[in-house]
C-alpha cells in the first residue's frame, strides 16, 4: 500500500470518471437533456434538473488557475515528497470546469520535480495519467 489517499473506484457518481482515466481518457459528465457539463460529477443537472447524464471526452488541455506548494506537517506518504506542488487546472473547453492535480516535469514523474518558483498562473498544461496502486490519477505536464 502506498499510503496515498485514493478514490473509491466503485463510488456511484464517479465510477465512470475513474474508469475513463484507467483507459487514458479524461471524461466530463454532461447532462443528457440540456448538454450542460458539470464537474465534479453528481446525480442531477443544476441547470435543468435532469437525472440523465452522459460522459464525453475532453481535450485534456487547460491552464493553471492556481497552485500551492505543500510543506509538512502532512500525512507520511505525502510528507516524504514535500515540498510538492498542487495545481488547479481550468479546462480549455470551459474555464469554469476545474480539476485539482499535480504539475509533473514528465509523464510518470514524481510530484516534487518541478521547481515551484517556475510555476505561473495561466501556464498551458496537458493531461497525463499517473498510476498509483489500482488508480489512474489525472496529472498534468506543461503543454
Amino acid at each position: 500500500m502506498s499510503g496515498f489517499l485514493l478514490p473509491d473506484l466503485e463510488s456511484e457518481d464517479a465510477a465512470e470518471f475513474w474508469a475513463g482515466c484507467a483507459r487514458g481518457e479524461l471524461l466530463v459528465q454532461h447532462c443528457a437533456h440540456c448538454d450542460a457539463p458539470r464537474f465534479p460529477p453528481r446525480p442531477m443537472c443544476p441547470r435543468c434538473r435532469s437525472i440523465s447524464s452522459i460522459w464525453k471526452p475532453v481535450s485534456g488541455r487547460g491552464t493553471i488557475w492556481s497552485f500551492v506548494v505543500a510543506h509538512p506537517p502532512l500525512l507520511p506518504a505525502y510528507a516524504e515528497l514535500a515540498p510538492y506542488n498542487v495545481i488547479v487546472v481550468a479546462l480549455d473547453e470551459d474555464p469554469t470546469l476545474r480539476m485539482v492535480g499535480n504539475l509533473l516535469a514528465r509523464p510518470h514523474g514524481p510530484i516534487n520535480e518541478v521547481d515551484p518558483a517556475t510555476i505561473r498562473i495561466g501556464e498551458p498544461v496537458r493531461v497525463v495519467f499517473q498510476q498509483v496502486e489500482d488508480v489512474s490519477l489525472p496529472s498534468w505536464v506543461r503543454a
Binding site: N102, I121, S139
Partner: protein, 387 residues
C-alpha cells in the same frame, strides 16, 4: 407579527469560558459544562431555567450530557449547525430565533473542543478510500484546510494584487490585540513583520503565521428574549440581525468548481444580514471576523461590504484593523490566530465584551459589532448591538 421578527428580539446576557491551552487535563464534556456554568452565573440565571440549547454539529458533547451535568430542566428547543467554522454565529442565530418565536425562554449556545489533540483534526483521520468530495482534491496531496485556502489565496493575490504584506497586516494586528489580553494564548508572545516574513511555509503562499492556533477550551453564551434582557447583572447585547450563507454551486473548502470561487459564502450571508439591519457597514464600530487563515479577513471584508471587490488587501493598510485608531478594529481579543481557536466561538464572546465595554482593547463607546463565522464554508454572521 411585525415585519422584523428577529431584529433585537433576543439578547446575550451571560458569557463564560474556560482557560485556553494545549493538553488541558479536563475532558471536553467537563470543559463545556464549566463554560456553560460560568455563563449562567454571569447572567444570574439558574440552570433549571434553561430550556433551549444550540451548538455545532461538530460539537463532541451531546445535549443530554450537558443538560444532565449542569442540572437543566425541560429542554424544549435544541439545534445544531453544520460546517465547522461556519457555524458559530449560526448557533447564536438559531438560539435567537427560538427565543424570538417563543420556543424557549433561556437559551445556551456553546462550543467545547480539545483541538490540540491530533484526533480532533479531520484531515488527519480521513479514510484511505474516498467516495466523498475529498476524492477530487486529496489524492494529489491537497490534504489540509490550509492547503485548500492557500489555493484560493494564491488566485486572490494574483487577480487583485494582494500581497504577503497585506496578510502580515492581519496577523500582526491580531497579535497586538492578543498582547493586551491576558486570556489569550499569545498574550506574552510578540510578533514582528520580520518574523512573519521569515517564518516557515505551511502551504505556499501561506506561512505559519497565516494559520490559526490549535487550542483546547470551551465558551458559552446565555440568551433571553428582549423583554427580560434588562433583568440581569450586565447590559444586554442584542442580536440585531443574523444570517446564514450558502451561495450557488458552493463546495465547502475546495470551492474551485463554480463561476466565481472568490465570491464566497460571506456575500450570501451579508445580503440577509444587512437587509434587516437598521445600520450599514459604515456604522460598524468594531468587528470580529473569522480568521482560521489570514486571507479570510480581506475576503470577508469584501463580502460584508466594508470595501469593494478586490480591495480587501488594501483595506488592511495603515493599521486599519488595529485598536484603537484603525478604521475598523478587528479581532480585538486576538481572534483565532492569536487568542484561541475554538471554531470561532471566542469571536462571539469578544463581540459581547465590546458592547458591554469590557474588552482589553475596548473601542470607546462601541454599540455595534459585526461577528462572522468562516468564509470558505457555508457560513453565518451576527450584528450585535447595545442599548
Amino acid at each position: 407579527m411585525s415585519e422584523h421578527v428577529l431584529r433585537d428580539r433576543a439578547a446575550i446576557v451571560g458569557i463564560g469560558q474556560t482557560a485556553f491551552g494545549k493538553g488541558l487535563a479536563d475532558t471536553e464534556l467537563s470543559l463545556a459544562c464549566q463554560a456553560i456554568s460560568a455563563a449562567l452565573d454571569d447572567a444570574g440565571i439558574a440552570p433549571s431555567e434553561v430550556d433551549g440549547l444550540a451548538s455545532f454539529t461538530m460539537e463532541p458533547n451531546r445535549e443530554v450530557d450537558v443538560a444532565r451535568n449542569v442540572g437543566m430542566g425541560d429542554i424544549t428547543f435544541f439545534s445544531q449547525v453544520g460546517y465547522g467554522g461556519g457555524a458559530g454565529c449560526g448557533v447564536v442565530l438559531h438560539a435567537a430565533m427560538a427565543l424570538a418565536t417563543g420556543q424557549c425562554r433561556v437559551a445556551v449556545a456553546w462550543r467545547a473542543r480539545k483541538r490540540a489533540a491530533k484526533s480532533s483534526r479531520p484531515w488527519a483521520q480521513v479514510p484511505r478510500r474516498l467516495s466523498d468530495h475529498g476524492q477530487w482534491s486529496r489524492p494529489w496531496g491537497l490534504l489540509r484546510p490550509v492547503d485548500e485556502v492557500a489555493m484560493l489565496a494564491r488566485r486572490y493575490m494574483h487577480e487583485y494584487g494582494v500581497t504577503r504584506d497585506h496578510l502580515a497586516n492581519v496577523a500582526l494586528a491580531f497579535r497586538k490585540h492578543a498582547n493586551r489580553n491576558p486570556a489569550a494564548t499569545m498574550y506574552e508572545k510578540k510578533l514582528t513583520r520580520e518574523q512573519y516574513m521569515e517564518a516557515r511555509w505551511i502551504s505556499e503562499p501561506l506561512c505559519l503565521f497565516d494559520n490559526c492556533l490549535e487550542t483546547d477550551g470551551a465558551l458559552a453564551v446565555v440568551m433571553v428574549p428582549a423583554e427580560r434582557a434588562r433583568d440581569h447583572p450586565h447590559p444586554p447585547v442584542y442580536v440585531h440581525t443574523g444570517a446564514q450563507g450558502l451561495p450557488p454551486q458552493h463546495q465547502t473548502m475546495t470551492n474551485y468548481f463554480n463561476d466565481d470561487p472568490l465570491k464566497g459564502p460571506s456575500w450570501a450571508a451579508a445580503r440577509q444580514l444587512w437587509r434587516d439591519a437598521e445600520f450599514g457597514p459604515e456604522d460598524v464600530q468594531v468587528a470580529q471576523i473569522y480568521d482560521a487563515f489570514s486571507p479570510l479577513i480581506p475576503l470577508s471584508l469584501e463580502g460584508y461590504g466594508f470595501c469593494a471587490r478586490g480591495e480587501g488587501g488594501a483595506f488592511t493598510e495603515n493599521g486599519a484593523l488595529e485598536w484603537p485608531d484603525g478604521r475598523l478594529p478587528t479581532n480585538t481579543s486576538g481572534g483565532g490566530m492569536s487568542e484561541a481557536y475554538v471554531h470561532g466561538f471566542n469571536l462571539v464572546l469578544e463581540g459581547v465584551r465590546q458592547i458591554r465595554g469590557t474588552s482589553t482593547s475596548q473601542v470607546e463607546g462601541a454599540r455595534t459589532c459585526l461577528v462572522t463565522s468562516g468564509e470558505g464554508v457555508p457560513t453565518s454572521a451576527l450584528l450585535l448591538r447595545g442599548e
